[in-house]
Amino acid sequence: MSSTSQKHKDFVAEPMGEKPVNALAGIGEVLGKRLEEKSFDKAYVVLGQFLVLKKDEELFRDWLKDTCSANTKQQDGEITTEKATHFN
């Protein structure tokens, strides 16, 4: 199982395309399943949510907590990935 930073590197190495949410850094199986249940089945949908929340980290964290009970470390991984994806 790859570490968060390795996952992050793999994710930002190329356009995300149709990568699933599990490919996001910080999102493992359990969280991935919870997100998919709420119809956030692809990474780009989560990116969309980040953008709809006006790229505000605080709001995004709250949303992650609200949606799939992510802990701080998972939220951090998510946010780093989203920012890297978007601003690259």
Partner: protein, 186 residues
Amino acid sequence: MSSLRSKTVKEMSDLLDEYEIKHGPVVDSTRSLYERKLKEAMAKGKKAKPSPDQTYYREEEEVTYEYRTPDRSDGAGDSGSYIRSRPACSEREFKHETSYSNYSRPKPEYGGKEFSDESHMYDLPPTSKSPYLKSTPGPPKEAPKALPSSRLVPLWVQFVFFVAVAVFLYLVFSSMETNEPIKGIE
């Protein structure tokens, strides 16, 4: 207080602004998040209403004042503290208080630097003057004064450096005219 679920998008957006909750569009995927945030904010007892702790710039403060006054006629809760804060301070002092907490979180509008300089200047004569005296001449005078101190390198240093360079160049040129080299310049 009617249920948050039944509020329209516009009402939700207005409520979020009232509680100074930064938010994006209220869409399906964000709705429940904002409802939760509003519930928490309300549970805190309407602390978001005009209070000195909030980081607000003057213009925004004035705007929200006018915006909230009609609303306030219905509200029960904190009307006591609200009334207390209004006559107790003139508007200037109110803005002054808010600008104290402003410098820690600059927004793009005014340029945070200007405010941080203002607050530094406020720190200097706290004991000598009374609060009212401090507030009234404060904002207009400090604004023009704050500009020069916003340089990275102080002005006098720049002048000294310029003069030093000028003297150095003069020495170099004068040594070129005469054939004898000046001490220190080979």
